[in-house]
Every structure is written in structure tokens, then in C-alpha cells.
Amino acid sequence: MPSASSGSHKAGRTLTVDRVAGGGLAVFAVFVLWQSRALPLGSLANPGPAYMPMALATLLLAAGLAIAILGRDTPGVGSLGFGEWRHAVAIFGACAFAALGLERLGYRLTIFLALLFLLGVVERKRPVVGVVFAVGFAAGTYFLFDTLLRVQLPRGPFGL
């Protein structure tokens, strides 16, 4: 196991967390600056719609560069643990499915399928448990919000 001082010394020569983060912010700032070209800038005395985004993007660019320059002492990117990435992708996928399906399949069907996927496939719970939980939760929340609180939730095929 390397010592702390050698670790930080090594970090000074490689990609560190702050260098990546600062670089990312700087790239985003440049992207905003590029995109703002399409809008009228106005003048210092009479700012247009692009004025504030450009001023803020310039500030973000400066902050990003400062973070990157000052960040050579921080741990290397390799130290970041992404062990949970499979789970994270699966959860994101379930949420994305919910966003896509909500107005096509209706609230109850979409949430039922998303919950069934999360419990059955991601968490590997017994199918019966998954189905009971998914049906109960989808129907229960629908009743609470749509029926009792009158929040209009989308209905899908067959009025589901």
C-alpha cells in the first residue's frame, strides 16, 4: 500500500478528481458560450438574453480552471469507486422506462412494470413478492393521489 505522501505525489502527475471535475465544468462552460452565440448579447448598459448566460459561463470557466489547476493535490480518479454502476444503470433504466411509459401505458401499468423489474430482476426477490408489492404500490399510490387528492394521473389502454 503506498504511503500518503507518495500517493499525493503520484496524484500530482496523473489525472486527479479535481482536475477531471474542473475540466468537466470548463468544457460545459465552453459549450454554453458556444450555444449562446445564437442569442443577442446586447451591451453592458442594455444586456440582451445572451448576456447573463455568457457572463455566468465565463465565471464557470474560470472556476473550473481554478479547480483543475489547484486540484493536483487531490486523489487520483482511479480512487473513485464505481462498484455500484450496474445497479445504478438498472435503476436509471427503470426510471427512464417510467418516464417513457407514463403517458403511453398509464400510471398504474408503468409503475407496476417498473417496480416488478426493480424487485424481480434487480433485487432478485421472489416473483410472488414482487408482483404483490408492485400491484399494491401502483394501485395504492394511484388511489391516494388520483382518487383522494385529485391529482390527475395518466391512464393507459383499457383505462388502466
Binding site: 448598459a45 455500484e84 438498472a90 436509471f92
Partner: protein
Amino acid sequence: MLETLHNLAVGFSVALSPSVLLYAFVGCVIGTLVGVLPGVGPLAGISLLLPATFGMDATRAIVMLAGIYYGAMYGGSTTSILMRIPGEAASVMTCIDGYAMARKGRAGAALAIAAVGSYVAGTVSVVGLMLLAPPLAAFALRFGPPEYFALLLFGLLVLAYMSAGSMVKSLAMAVLGLLLGMVGIDQMSGYFRFAYGVVELGDGLGVVPVAVGLFGLAEILATAGQAVQPKVIEPKLRELLPSRAEWREAAGPIGRGTVLGFLVGIIPGSAHIISSFVSYALEKKLSRRPQEFGHGAVAGVAGPESANNAATSGAFVPMLALGVPSGPIPAVMLAAMMVHGVSPGPLLIRQQPELFWGFVASMYVGNLVLLILNLPLVGIFVNLLRVPYPYLYPAILTFSILGVYAVNGSVVDVWIMLGMGVLGYVLRKLSFETAPIVLGVVLAPMIELALRQSLAMSDGHYGIFFQRPIAATLLVVGLGMMLLSLRTFIRRGLDWRARMALAEKGES
């Protein structure tokens, strides 16, 4: 003073009448339930239930709607503490230390401190509302666009200055939030900015999807797949209430949060949100152990919770005394009053003293009802944490999607939440605080509008910010804090350089 007490006695005679008391209780119960459900905040709650009050007389209707308002403000802290999902933007700061306390097995203590803090803040600020309404409201009216711009800038600078972590990182996050807040129609020119053809983005990024994504979803993405799952917390009865040491730690922040929240609440804008951010930053700076913030500091719950509840009462000052709503929720309340034939303003106190003082007295009663209602419920709420995480997180995800969708009935908001969830997940890995992003998103449209209106007022001269005393004072204090931060920053830099020099010497 005697006259005030006499008027208050009249108010209590109205508020303690059985029917008004019942409506205050019903309002508080509904408000708490609305607040506990993520996504359905006080604004949605009041808007949804407004038609239900049409058949009531004005006093009962307004007392019930006010009960929903501060009930929801309190209820929002429950999901923040237990699940790290802010019911609405004002609860964002409670997520940080409240959730950390819950993970340490102190969820009951955090909920109890939030309840008592909210009660104290609510009650004390009603005294403020009663005594200071007319002069403070008159002062708040002196805020034009330049003062407003200076105040908002000051708020951002305070947040960056008070941050115990890297000031550059906090500022970068606030600027990122401001940039995200630029999405949508430009209020001055009508141009669509960064909407890429998505019509729903015309209104900009909503605060609820941004906050739920950055806090709730990011937390789930980061923890659900960990090899060691978050432990199921099984709180014991004696652990439900705060210890004596925790009460002592909470006392100061509750007091400061109350005063700060009330004063900020009077000023137009999203006061309850700003007050909780500023209170958190203040407590972090004043703390002897700032390193505990983010890891379950009692002051990190007590301060912001008190501040946002005090701001709730503070927001009623300009609404009742001048008929000027200081934010979207008071605006809906104002509309509700007008529907019932009541015109808030300077004449309200003189022409309808029973309604005004009855409303004030009902706020005392409502706060007490909330405390009585919520302290015994702490045990029930905390039991949610007994649910194993593989079942709990899908349930949280469902509430998040549902709550975010319910705000505008728009799937685009769900996509925004997903995007913010991924951003929050990545930023969390890179050790960035995400709270300033939410503040930036809230402040961006206001700060830009205030700047451009100020420049329109002054024919493009930036001197206007220094010619007006309130704006100049706020800017000078803000800039002074920035310079102080720079001094510390440079010193820290020297220390770092000195350490490096020493290390190199040691190596050679």
C-alpha cells in the same frame, strides 16, 4: 401595546371557537400529509384544496388554508430527514444533516428537533408579525430592483463565504445552478434560451425536479447497489427523543434561525428557501465543529427548519399589511382571501379586525396543534426506516416520479429529475456539494430580472447599485466577505505551499 393585547384577546375568542379550532386542526393534518408526500408541496396543496373552501366563511377558510401552509412546511422535513427527498425546495438543507442523523440512528431526534424548532420559530415569528407588521412591511416596500439584485447577490456570496469546504467549488456549483436557471423564456425579451425545441422548457427547470433529482435520486443511484446495503434502522423508544446535549446544541440555531427566517421572510422572493440556505451557512460558520456539518450536525437541522418556518410567518407581513404577496404561496393565499371577499392591505386591520386578529391567533393555535400532532407521530414516521432498503428505494422512486410529475403534469419534469439525478450522482462522487445548485436555479430568473430592471431604471448606469443605501450596504458587505475569504484562501495557499516545500526538503 395594551391595544395589541386587547386585539389579540378578540382574536383568540375567534380562534378558540370550536368550529375555527376544528378547521385549524383539519388544515394542519392535511398540510402535514401533503408535506410528507414528496413533490406535493404547500403550493400544490393549497391550490388543490382552495375550491374545497368556497362554501366556508372567510375566517374558517383562511384559517384552514394557513394551517395547510405551515403544516406542509413542517411535513416536508419528514421525508427530507427519513429519505433524503426534499418535499419542496425549502427542505433541501434539512436533507443534508437530517438524513445523516437518520443514518446514525438519530432520526427520531432529528424529527423532534425539527418539530420543536418549527413550533418555536412559528410562535415567535407570529409575535413579530403581530407587533412589527406595519413598520417592517413599509421597510420591505423600499426594496426596488437594485436592492433586490443586491440582496440576491449577497445571498449567493454569503453561501460561498460561509461554506467550510472549498469556496471555489461552492461558487462553481452556485454558478452552475444559475446557468441551469437560465433555461427557458427570457422574461425581458421573450427569447427561448437553451430549450432545444422542447416547449415545456419555456418555463425553465422546475425547482422540485431539480431538488428531487439532485438529492433523492442521486442518493438511490449511489447507495442501492453498494455491496454493503444501508442498514435497516430499528429505533428504540428511548432513542426517539433528543438527548439533553442535542437540545443544548439546537437551542442557539433555533433562536438564530427564527430571527433570520422572519426578517428574510418579509422580503419579496422565495424567502423561505433563501432563509434556510442562509441559516445553514450561518450555523456552519458559527459552529465550533464545522466538520460535523454534512455528517449529522444537530444545528444543520435546527437552524434551517426554524428559519423556513419563521419565514412562512414573515411572508404574511407584507401580504396582510400591504396586500403584497412575497412569493407564489402568499400569492395563492391572497387570491384565496379575495375569493372570500377579503381585501388584504392597510385597511384590513381596521375594517375587519376579527378576521385579522383571528387569523393571527389561529397561527398560535395552529403551531401548537402541529407540535401536538407531530411529536407523537415521530415514532410512526421513524418506523418507515425499518423497511428493508430493497423495498424502500423502489417505493421512494415511485413517490419521486409521481411527485415530480404531479407538479405540472409533465413528463419533461421526470426527465429533468433523471438528468439531475445523474448529475448529482457524478458530483457526489467528485466531492461537490449540490445544495448551491438548487439555490442557483431558484435565484437565476430573479437575479437576472432585477439586474436588467435596475439597468433600465438607471439608463444603463451601474452606479445605481451604489447610489441607493440599502443596495450599497448589501453589496459592500458582500464584497467585504469575498475579500475576507480571499485572504483566508491565500493564507491557506501559503500553508499548502509551505507544506509542499517542507515535504520536498524531507525527500531530498
